[in-house]
């Protein structure tokens, strides 16, 4: 009994440093955010408890629903794009791993991930500038009449999603590349001896064994997809009109432009619940045995 008790204390001591920081810097802010969301919060100290009114205000605000739809649209485009491009790049690099040039290519694909979001936003805003952007000039030279991507409601979110994929896919590539290295060569050899096609090897061996990495990449990308903010602020500021105003930008504006912190905290809680839900769905879909 004493030995078992000692073991529990030992485990608790191992967990304690991480748990302390996690509670202080993760759980604490979430709970505090929920607390603020129940108030008409004034940073100068005159907060007033209003119960669920901030949440009811959100439910009644068409702008909130528009931001939610925009966020879902961005996530629906960006998440598969980022994970898919990352996977394709990883397979490409893995297939040519014995050639020296792939090392350079891998570094090149990873490089955008090292940039900050503001740099990424500015680069793409310049690339897609209607007067001086290389992308639009090149398309016009090819005889195509391109839309002004960042000023067209239909194109604004896909354009931001593309910029985000360029920025983030390189890191997913590294994750998948590492997971590919973990698959024993014997599996491929056995499949080859049995006469399996490349597609069969991919779908029956590679993809199932990549499941833990895919889960990790999906959870990571889902979080990035739902809290997208910087690139939207810089590339379109939520426009044209409100065609690309996402939830994080809506939150930012209520919190930092209109100084309505309670309402902003309510948006933060909604975002938290969405991301938590999506993460649990990912676990359910890919199996809890997938390790993070």
């Amino acid at each position: 009994m004493r030995r078992r008790y000692g073991r529990i204390v030992e485990i608790a001591l191992f967990i304690l440093p991480f748990a302390a920081f996690w509670i202080l810097f993760r759980l604490g802010p979430v709970l505090y955010g929920f607390f603020i969301s129940l108030y008409r919060w004034d940073p100068l100290g005159d907060a007033k408890f209003i119960g669920a009114r901030n949440y009811l205000n959100l439910a009644r605000d068409p702008r909130f629903w528009n931001a939610l739809v925009n966020t879902l649209e961005f996530a629906a485009i960006a998440i598969p794009l980022i994970v898919g491009i990352g996977l394709v790049l990883a397979l490409f690099i893995f297939a040519g791993r014995k050639r020296r040039v792939t090392t350079w290519l891998e570094a090149g694909f990873f490089f955008p991930y090292l940039l900050t979001v503001s740099v990424v936003g500015l680069i793409w805003r310049w690339l897609l500038d209607p007067d001086f952007g290389i992308v639009l000039i090149a398309l016009r030279d090819m005889g195509i009449d391109p839309p002004v991507f960042l000023n067209e409601p239909r194109w604004a979110i896909p354009a931001i999603a593309l910029a985000t994929a360029w920025w983030l896919a390189g890191y997913r590539m590294l994750l998948f590349r590492a997971a590919l290295e973990d698959i024993p060569d014997e599996f491929y050899e056995a499949a080859r001896i049995d006469g399996a096609s490349g597609a069969l090897v991919f779908f029956s061996i590679v993809l199932p064994l990549l499941r833990p990495a895919i889960l990790f990449a999906l959870v990571l990308t889902t979080i990035s997809g739902f809290i997208v903010f910087g690139q939207v602020l810089i590339m379109t500021a939520g426009g044209p009109g409100r065609a690309s105003e996402v939830l994080a930008l809506y939150l930012y504006r209520f919190g930092f432009e209109y100084l309505e912190m309670g309402q902003a905290a309510a948006v933060g809680m909604v975002l938290f619940l969405i991301i938590l839900g999506m993460t649990l769905v990912s676990f359910r879909w890919l199996g809890f045995e997938s390790s993070l």
Binding site: D42, P43, L44, G45, R63, D129, P130, D131, F132, V148, L150, N151, P153, A237, G239, P240, G241, R242, R253, G255, F256, E257, Y258, L259
Partner: protein, 441 residues
């Protein structure tokens, strides 16, 4: 031999001499040490944190003033921190709320109604009347800007400047279009003739109405036309939208028509960049554009905004120096007085703000200072800006506790109309509904 040679290069020290020297040094050190606290007291420096919302050329100009302050003042030092204006007010509130407020800050005249709670009432502070203590006197400031610094009978703001929009034009494109570069348009008819001529004869963009066409800039462009027709955004009691009328409609229709009927530009373009690239004939932009236009090497001129409707009107606002609310443990009464004196000092040197920041100083002696009057900034642009201000053409943005949300409710609809995806009527109807929703809570 060896010893004597050595003695030629060093002085032998006897034990008595050594002891005497050591005793003397100790005495000097003791006297010095006794004096240190009083010397330190004399040299004690008060550091004042000064946060602004300036960036680009404005930030560089304010840095120049603060550097001069820190060179000329030994007892007080300014610690300058500058940042983006979008988050500035939220940061100011957070700083005041957490008890770490800067000793000096900036506030727009149009924001006094929603920011005053974070500011020290200057005539009724716990250190007494700070204006009197610092020698800040109303007659030394531009009256309209000074008057705008009061809310509910209490003064919170000391004006720094006035800034506004005006007409920048490319002299080379004017020549190519057969226009006189020394006679920029002043009436609506002359303006339209000039824009049409630039479009047809040069093949370049004729006109951009709103700097870089961000939603808030397009809203300002519409407001400028709307106010020029005598419109008002809200009803006098501030409880309902009042812009969805014939004046609002006429202003928006004219703005949209510039792009979609007359083809003077295209939706989604950036007037700053077009003008700097020499591809734009005329641009409506603020005085802060001067350093950029100059650096771009464009042969440009500057003029008043044309009279589009009944009254020539331009969008404008003012920066003011403020003392955010302080906790006694962070700022003693003496520190509050030092902050007020620093504010006065900054205004006394604000001709620098005019020359390098391109703003019109609100402190009249600085506005009339020779260095400013002789500067290129004044001669090309600021004199015209000052004329517009003195003629009463300047119109401040909406002053209302919910002004940021009212603006945000209008902007996307104006932008959609400008882009041609909403009719002006639909845009104003939607904006009106959204503004009323904001105002009724």
């Amino acid at each position: 031999m060896g010893w004597r040679e050595e003695s030629a290069h060093s002085t032998p020290v006897s034990r008595r001499t050594f002891l005497k020297t050591t005793a003397a040094a100790a005495a000097v050190a003791a006297v010095g040490a006794a004096r240190i606290p009083s010397v330190m007291a004399q040299e004690r420096v008060t550091t004042l944190d000064y946060y602004t919302l300036f960036h680009s050329g404005d930030a560089a100009a304010m840095e120049r003033i603060v550097r001069l302050f820190n060179t000329e003042n030994r007892a007080v030092r300014l610690n300058l921190l500058q940042g983006q204006w979008a988050e500035y007010y939220a940061q100011l509130f957070a700083a005041v709320g957490s008890g770490n407020a800067p000793h000096i800050g900036i506030c727009h005249s149009s924001r006094v109604m929603d920011v005053y709670r974070a500011l020290t009432p200057l005539e009724e502070s716990r250190a007494g009347n700070l204006l009197d203590a610092a020698g800040i006197r109303a007659p030394q400031y531009t009256k309209s800007v000074w008057d705008a610094g009061v809310f509910e009978g209490k003064r919170y703001l000391v004006p720094l400047d006035t800034h506004m929009w005006g007409l920048w034009y490319n002299k080379d494109l004017f020549r190519r279009a057969g226009l006189d570069p020394d006679k920029p348009p002043e009436s609506r008819e002359d303006f339209e003739r000039a824009a049409d001529a630039i479009k047809t004869r040069t093949g370049q963009f004729a006109f951009h109405p709103a700097e870089d066409a961000l939603p808030r800039k397009l809203r300002r462009a519409w407001e400028m036309l709307f106010w020029g027709g005598g419109g008002s955004l809200l009803t006098p009691d501030g409880k309902r939208a009042a812009f969805n009328d014939e004046r609002g409609m006429r202003a928006l229709d004219y703005l949209v028509g510039m792009i979609h009927r007359r083809g003077w530009n295209a939706p989604g373009t950036d007037g700053f960049k077009q003008f700097a690239a020499g591809q734009l004939g005329m641009l409506i932009a603020g005085n802060w554009y001067f350093p950029t236009a100059k650096a771009a090497g464009v042969n440009f001129g500057f003029h008043y905004v044309p009279k589009f409707f009944e009254k020539p009107t331009t969008w404008g606002d003012s920066h003011n120096l403020v003392i955010p609310r302080q906790r006694p443990e962070r700022a003693s009464d003496d520190v509050l007085v030092a902050a007020a004196r620093a504010i006065k000092w900054i205004n006394e040197r604000s001709s620098i703000w005019g020359i390098y920041g391109g703003h019109i100083p609100a402190f009249l002696p600085a506005q009339r200072a020779k260095d400013l009057q002789d500067s290129e900034t004044w001669q090309i642009a600021l004199s015209k800006f000052a004329y517009m201000a003195n003629q009463g053409w300047l119109h401040y943005p909406l002053v209302h506790p919910l002004a940021p949300r009212v603006h945000a409710a209008i902007e996307p609809h104006i932008q959609e109309a400008y882009n041609g995806r909403l009719t002006p009527r639909d845009a104003l109807t939607r904006a009106e509904a959204e503004v009323n929703r904001v105002l009724t809570g």
